[in-house]
Symmetry: C2
Subunit: 224 residues, 2 copies
Amino acid sequence: MERHFDEELEMLNTDILKMAVFAERAIFQSIEALKNRDKNLARAVIEQDKKIDELELVIEERAISLLALRQPMARDLRFISTGMKINAELERIADLAVNIAQKVVELAGQPLLKPLIDIPKLAVTARKMVKDAIDAFVHRDQNLAKEVILSDPEADNLRNIVQQDLINDYMVKDGTTAPRAVSLLLIARNLERICDHATNIAEDVIYMINAKNVRHHIEKLNPK
Amino acid sequence: MERHFDEELEMLNTDILKMAVFAERAIFQSIEALKNRDKNLARAVIEQDKKIDELELVIEERAISLLALRQPMARDLRFISTGMKINAELERIADLAVNIAQKVVELAGQPLLKPLIDIPKLAVTARKMVKDAIDAFVHRDQNLAKEVILSDPEADNLRNIVQQDLINDYMVKDGTTAPRAVSLLLIARNLERICDHATNIAEDVIYMINAKNVRHHIEKLNPK
């Protein structure tokens, strides 16, 4: 029995939401694993990534077959092409959480370098940006998408603080801290890259809503 | 006057090649700037990125309008959807070259930490992988695409060598080297990420050629 086009679009929407839930969970769990030095949780994040990779392929194939068989126009075309891009961004976000989890496994045997404050804060920002970007997609909320884009400099700033702190207060003062400090620094960079992907999603959402491309040009978007 | 569909596909092809030339040049110049401590060349890489960002948008808009107006089937559909993905990968590759150029500007006022050997080697690998991935796209050469994918572990390995060397031979022995060592380490990671994007392109090309998705499953591809 042939499905209605609307149903197929709805399935695509649902699958992207599922993908977003997986990606958000991977971020949350990788940072919980870091905070609690929990190797098993870190391994679970790495293991779960297979499911995310599979779902990415399913979504992509579905989107391409919708394009080919349904030949959608205008609004639907933008929804499907945006869905394909968001799908790819979410898969990369999950990969970055896996990178973090891998570092947690490496670090688990060693004493904690310092109390973690700014990295969990950056992780909260990253999750919020991903969640808001996906909410903006679901509710076609241009203002929320814009907020995501405008919060990216805050994430960059937080990552800079983490990096400078690790270099100046640890590595420079005591070189033997370098291996652990570099791992934390790379975790912070992975989180910042998650924020960058959330920004990409928000830009894609704005394009979907008003067919205006704000990538590299957020100033093009009118004020609220 | 309306253009033929074939001409439009050819224009898309040509623009992607142009994008690839820009991206390869950005990698080359950013590493030349690093080797020669050439701030002006690094600034030129940063400046040129605007042109790459603009071309990315032109290509994307053209591809979407081809999808919408021409409603291509099967082979052409895969060519256009792959072209869109390669376009996005090339833009990110150029961004990573910009990241390197920014580090070169920061480093230019400071004495060189060490003679650069492995980083330029990694840069050569990165450029070759990007070039081969694009050649595989142009000539629909599945074996060349597969070679790109199989050379990615070599890039990971080279980056590991650079990282371990910087940590153990510099940062641990003399903490004051940390700021410069971290910059070099991040440059190596940017190069490795360029290799990852070249791998993504190669996977997209294989999909385009035989409609078989090898992402996350290179073993699915039969031996030559």
